[in-house]
Symmetry: C2
Subunit: 123 residues, 2 copies
């Protein structure tokens, strides 16, 4: 009968090499990596990416997005809130309407790069 291996730490030679410490040192702070994860997480949801794809084309108000996505107004407002909080979209008020746009060039670039990666992996 096999004994249970214990994984407190890897004891192979690869893990005892010096480069482990160097990698740890050069790693961005956990705080920064958490922010980065939270940033990407916002793009990682179907409804939000649909909203962003629409806003990629032009500024739109909430009722436009309701019409374009064919979804509940509340659902869209909730997701817009997430996008606002993450500073991925901007908004401006005009009368009863609120108009949204993508925040900056980084957002366009990320969407471009993501799509490019997807398309390349299809082949």
């Amino acid at each position: 009968m096999k004994k249970q291996p214990i994984y407190d730490a890897c004891i192979s030679k690869c893990a005892t090499n010096d480069y482990i410490d160097q990698i740890k040192e050069h790693l961005p702070s956990d705080q920064l990596l958490l922010e980065l994860a939270n940033f990407f997480k916002v793009f990682g949801e179907h409804t939000r990416i649909r909203i962003l794809s629409a806003l990629y084309q032009r500024e739109l108000c909430v009722c436009d997005l309701v019409e374009i996505l064919g979804m509940n107004q509340s659902a869209i407002s909730h997701q817009l809130r997430v996008l606002r909080t993450s500073k991925i979209v901007r908004y401006r008020k005009e009368g009863k309407n609120v108009y949204y746009t993508l925040d900056d060039e980084h957002v366009y670039k990320l969407l471009d790069d993501g799509l490019e990666h997807i398309k390349e992996n299809k082949q």
Copy 2:
């Protein structure tokens, strides 16, 4: 007493404009946007982004990652599986060890762009 407004469709002038249909037409397919969301979702998790940050520096085996992240081996293997399935990392086997690397330049670029965006928004 107020009546309940009904949001079957926006009836303001903005939603009845022609550009709504044009935007719908130019939107990538829902299938593609779902794939894009799933792609970004993989980056949107703390443990996975930590793994990717480590692999950004060099090829590493699983036990290296266990050591670097200070986490359960099982947790890391589960996340590596997600990264593999999404074709964000590659792997090669060498004896008992399995070595992982980032899949391609897109992955490096996305991590760069994400970090750049975060840092800019800090100021």
